[in-house]
Symmetry: C2
Subunit: 192 residues, 2 copies
């Protein structure tokens, strides 16, 4: 898909987030995004079905990586250790472009009810991907559902800190996400 | 709001779910829903901004009841005991009409990406309502976020069992939701 236009997908995402920031999500058209990215509308539609899907473009990749990491974790890994393996794998897909875009992306989502809904469904999908992979490992249904939710919570909290944080030594998303998972694990002891 | 038309709100919800089931969500118009419910379009818009919001009509009420139950729980209640109090309060808002509608509502949501997104945002809102109420009780941020997610998971799992289950002695939604919360609490011990 689109290999004759290297970087078109990334350019489209950057162009869209810039336009959403400048003029709002509702006022931005696919034609404007394509023009800003220097590609045709047809190229846009080879990469994304519409402007909304563009903002959750990573969902399928993240779901796949989360599931792979969980499935391939050592046999004796606990449910949360398997989730940690999935989170580490998925985090590796998010690089400096994602980090630079994150604040503008967050602002665009905050300003659009439509994008908030799509974003919420993304969380549900990621939790489901982890839960399904855990069940495939033989984890009981309820434990798997709980571990999947914890994984999403850790990913969201780690991602938020990573994208807002200082650019210090702990630069990889994975470090933030795994620290968030540890915090949640510790917190689960004080639920009562 | 609409007190001169008793039951209009409930009739609109039932009419909408019936029409979504019969002909699909996308093909159903506000005018058709109003006609089926025996009210005018103006009455529809006095109750709901659009057909999508109609399906998450209870969100604000549920959020309020969840928060009230949590805030009013005894001072010495643990975070999960406070969540249980919130869940019990919120469950009392769901009666036999909700139970009868549940299977058709579920089918309508399953058939529409738009409704799935709105439904996902509802879960996020309910979790946020619980988390905020727990923080107001002095529960640390991470523990509150985790307890809020557990509360939503318990509500969704209990609601699913309640709406699909046999009409036996355990007939109140609250009983199903609190049983689901207990299961999740037990499962959290085996996360590793």
């Amino acid at each position: 898909m689109g290999r004759w236009e290297p970087g078109a997908r990334e350019r489209l995402v950057v162009a869209a987030v810039d336009l959403f920031t400048e003029q709002g999500y509702d006022a931005t058209t696919v034609a404007q995004i394509a023009e800003r990215a220097g590609v045709t509308k047809s190229t846009f539609f080879r990469h994304f079905p519409d402007k909304r899907e563009l903002l959750v473009a990573g969902q399928e990749t993240l779901s796949r990586l989360l599931a792979e990491g969980i499935v391939e974790a050592p046999d004796d890994a606990s449910p949360l250790e398997a989730v940690a393996a999935g989170l580490e794998r998925a985090s590796s897909a998010m690089g400096s472009m994602n980090r630079d875009l994150a604040p503008r992306l967050k602002a665009a989502v905050a300003a659009s009810a439509e994008l908030q809904e799509r974003d919420a469904l993304k969380s549900v999908s990621l939790a489901a991907a982890m839960t399904t992979a855990l069940i495939a490992r033989g984890v009981p249904d309820t434990t798997a559902a709980l571990a999947g939710e914890l994984g999403v919570l850790a990913f969201k909290r780690g991602y938020a800190e990573w994208s807002e944080g200082e650019r210090d030594g702990k630069d990889e998303l994975a470090a933030y996400v795994l620290a968030a998972l540890d915090e949640l694990r510790a917190a689960s002891a004080s639920l009562g």
